[in-house]
Symmetry: D2
């Protein structure tokens, strides 16, 4: 079974291959009356666009989005919004040699095993190029969130590259847009630049950790037991290419804590509970608390490297393969805007779901 | 929106509260003709049952499962299988004081904020007691997997308690069933016993890391892009109470690796590719490779501790709360059989989905 | 693929066989805070209960519903509501002879062909007994509708039995509860009694047409294009045992009308449009108009008759089969409360969906 | 909630408005390896195309389909297939006067009431133009069915126009493609031509009854209880613009039959049961029997007529409205290829679902 849709009330179906004529997202369930402009969506796409620094793939795609439906006179109508991005720079010839051989770490093998055939050009459907469609859909979600929850803010950043993590004491969200790594620690950003240059020259690549923080999230989002906000975020982030782990709040580190340390104690706030800490990452029992929602995830190193690796061909031959083509030495970088988009889509979906079931009614404190 | 169903072709809906008359699982989509016996399901439930060692809650539940539908003369008929477990030891009086106050780290607060009211007895729907229903459903999934993929094996184990991780060199799967911690390292199991006793006496609790390994998983399971096997496993594990992070294969550690290190190189095997390593955890592009599927997750320390913690009441009063009742000092222990059950359900669901879409046809190697 | 759930935000999963230990409905998505009492649900079940007149099956079932979850101190909590009805009068011995032969007009054959095995006792899962679970779930839906849309009324009635249709001029909704046929035309109810007695004595059965009218339905319910209110109602009614056709408003008769005749012209009303007719049955473009929603459906004659009919056995033998057991001579009668329940479930589901997507905001007139 | 997807394993999401830049279908779940060609899909679109006879709207659309994804070297890859049709003849100026007034019988009013705003040009999303996307998706479904069930045939036809029904004795499927009405009775086709010319001149329109027959459908398709084949077909047909009723087999007429008359008796056939009649329309208990699947539905008369009709404006003014633009005097005609497409999509979806759950295993006879 293929399954290219996520979300329940805000539903996004992405389509398209790396080297096909176009790719896009069919966005169903956007509330009516939301101002939607191609320019605003383009803004988010431009942040993800390849070729903007020497640290990302040199494939040059205009990544220009067209809105084909669902918007009339600048407002969403409540009907499906089709977002299309035409592929322009399709250097398919780079991929001839992977038609019948399997790049280690790639989905070449598994698509072959599952489907029996595949569009091998640039990884076809399994290419990270698919994430452009997510970012476009995320642009719609952001517009709807802006209309419904004006104070909500979503910020993605890279907090670790290879073994080098940021110094939280130096972190400043204002720095995130000022370096090619979405790094909140300007000192570390410098260090990463040198580190990554060296790796690239060594025909190698490296992994990263991304963090996405959503502030201003209303309490009450999340649909227990099998539509928990954290479970949906975990699936959303894990669905991004090359992601191998997802953490909420304290994440893996929670295993080493005691109950005393981990308790997020509460005092009375102006307008609900005031938490003294946020180990929980803003989610309890699968439902948002009103604190910052904090998600982190690990991206593995780019599998496409210029160093030969042992593999096999469909014919069963054992070969050494060098992956040519234009690749990101650290795919984590471009995962940042994608993760922000996924966060936006998940939050909007849950906002609509909650409004449907509970009517947005809330228990009070005090 | 409430949402208590998971799976697409193998669909499980759990229902019931900690201190209601009963809880259970409505299991829809089990293939017909599978031998299903209450005894076999009971076997899995007994592994999860509370009160089996001094390291788990002393609540004593028979946890006896009844099959109310969907099985005829010992075989599944293809219609919904209703599994019911009656609650017998409901000491509701322990919970009177949390009717209007919110235990830190619990879902009391968020259920109150979302729904405006809640069944507070024992945490109601948010109690880990709900996981008994998952284990029962997992028993059905295991029976179907046994019929369809006889070589498939699922093994859960605890690999870290607090800061103390197992020594992989000492690990032996045969040890897992021989200690109350599902620990494959017998030396560490001893150490944990002393460590946990001390914590319990100190009115504290601790987190853990659980690992679940599935071997014999056919290649080709997983439904890209938004039904990836790893994304579905991430959601499944994150939906378990107190889980804060999920890893596939190398997990968070993948961030620190280079592309050379992380590549799972391949040689030709007897019957498909032979991998030289398994950093990927058996999943590439969201589809199983045929290697072991390896999932790990972190469970936070039990929030219910006998040490007072600051919190507020629904009325807005600031109080110090001690959580009475009978609690696990390390909830991670009892998460092991639950995680195995979730793995079984997810794998069966994807097996059926794959058979539906591709007919199980496969590309070959050699 | 088995599929025993209907609805999106208000989701009902029924389970259970005719002669198993119990049957019921897992109701997920009921808004929180709705007063739910077993007695109120029982009220609806009693209307459907067999054995209440000589015109329905003499199987005597208490059909007593128990609420096992999701309700606390008389109010829905927003978690799944499990409704269980135990089977008490299971005369399985009547069914021994259909274990291997296929009653014409029944699902015996198709369950055999699809699943390879079946619970043959009383038709197993395909028995109309399953509809008790729908009526119970409908009781929950009615309670939620009463809280959210107090003016909404749902009335089911039989308008034709065999070739004998009611006289609309004589129809009076107050009559519906005063005869065993839910017939609004008291003269016709008398006639049907004699007609049905004769049929029963002749070891025959007969079909019927049922009409369900919902008044006070808010405008705006329905989710185009593939969640249209009329399409969902059509599926809901067609899913009832023995239903062969569904009509909305003018129904099949619309085919014979001209555009002039069929136009529901509008004048300005006090609070929106005032329609001069209701050929549309209260639905335009799949969305409710605010007029009465009118659905009609045809129920085929009971297939179980005491007259021998030609059929085959699983072994391939050609036989003449007489269906013993206790059967309704006109199953349409007991379909009335079932259809009301389905109407309630569909309307509540769409109310919640609409509130989720549009927030219930509306365009105005005037 | 908007909801523009139908199907479970074969999932079709349509998008686009009557007068937007384009419309199309995102088709997810087509099995891999199916030969898919734009020309073959175009063949089906050309049958639906407007402007091919004087009896359909004179809007001239090329209705040229482009495949943007999911097909590689002529074969489906198992990934989403995006089908796009650009709108070329958009005479929006015809629609200025319905921007603020509501055409009786149209969705103008309900879209306004539900969403608060709408793309009024040509009916926007509610236009029958959306059905072009269904026909394109149906082309993919037909290609997959041809690969999986070569003997399956789907034939749509008009069997009644206004009060004039065909004579079944004269019916010949070979005639269906030889007249502009898809009429199997050539004598009646002549009569309809004169009848419709007269209506058109009188500025009126008329309804119709369409029948779709699928032969060669394997037994066992349909997913009880809430994914019954007949219920899914009912929803699918009811979702087509202007449809007001759906019948399976005997349909509404079943109400007037007795159990003796309605029984489809069986003898032993060469390869399973041989039915002596087909009142059931090929479906028992929601599962296909192997007989012809027979669906009929009523289409109301075109609401857009040149005769003035009373209505109101958004401002609350009472007016008489004449619907200009280019309209079909009998929209039923163009519903024929649409209904065939829906039948193909539903059958393929159920074929994949059944293969997923039961593995296609079957009970035998003899």
């Amino acid at each position: 079974m293929s399954f290219n849709t996520f979300g329940h009330l805000f539903r996004v179906t992405t389509w398209g291959e790396s080297h096909g004529p176009a790719l896009g997202a069919t966005v169903d369930g956007c509330p009516p009356g939301v101002p939607i402009e191609a320019e605003a969506i383009q803004h988010w796409l431009d942040r993800r666009k390849p070729g903007t620094s020497r640290f990302t793939t040199q494939r040059r795609e205009a990544d220009e989005v067209r809105i084909l439906s669902g918007v009339f006179e600048g407002l969403s109508t409540g009907t499906p919004i089709q977002l299309m991005i035409e592929n322009t720079d399709q250097r398919s010839k780079d991929y001839g040699d992977i038609a019948t051989s399997f790049r280690p770490g790639h989905a070449d093998l598994t698509y072959h095993l599952k489907y029996g055939l595949r569009d091998y050009r640039g990884g076809g459907r399994s290419s990270a190029r698919e994430t452009a469609a997510r970012v476009a859909a995320g642009g719609v979600a952001r517009a709807a969130l802006a209309a419904l929850v004006p104070d909500l803010r979503i910020t993605g950043m890279m907090v670790q590259m290879g073994p080098h993590g940021i110094d939280r004491a130096r972190a400043d969200l204002a720095e995130v847009d000022r370096n090619p790594f979405w790094c909140p620690d300007p000192v570390m950003a410098e260090e990463w630049a040198g580190y990554l240059d060296a790796l690239r020259k060594a025909h190698d690549s490296v992994g990263a950790v991304i963090e996405v923080v959503a502030s201003g999230v209303p309490a009450g989002l999340g649909a227990p037991i099998y539509g928990k906000l954290d479970a949906d975020l975990a699936a959303a982030m894990m669905s991004i290419n090359a992601v191998k782990a997802v953490e909420i709040g304290e994440g893996m580190a929670a295993a080493a804590l005691t109950g005393r340390e981990n308790a997020d104690e509460m005092r009375r706030g102006a307008d609900g509970p005031a938490f003294l800490s946020n180990h929980a990452g803003g989610i309890l029992g699968g439902i948002s608390t009103g604190q910052d929602v904090v998600v982190r995830f690990a991206v593995k190193p780019t599998s496409s490297i210029l160093t030969p690796r042992q593999t096999v061909t469909a014919g069963g031959e054992e070969i050494d393969l060098v992956t040519k083509g234009r690749h990101d030495p650290c795919v984590g970088i471009r995962a940042v805007p994608v993760a922000e988009a996924m966060m936006a889509c998940v939050l909007l979906d849950h906002l609509l779901r909650d409004r449907g079931q509970t009517g947005g009614a809330r228990g009070h404190i005090g």
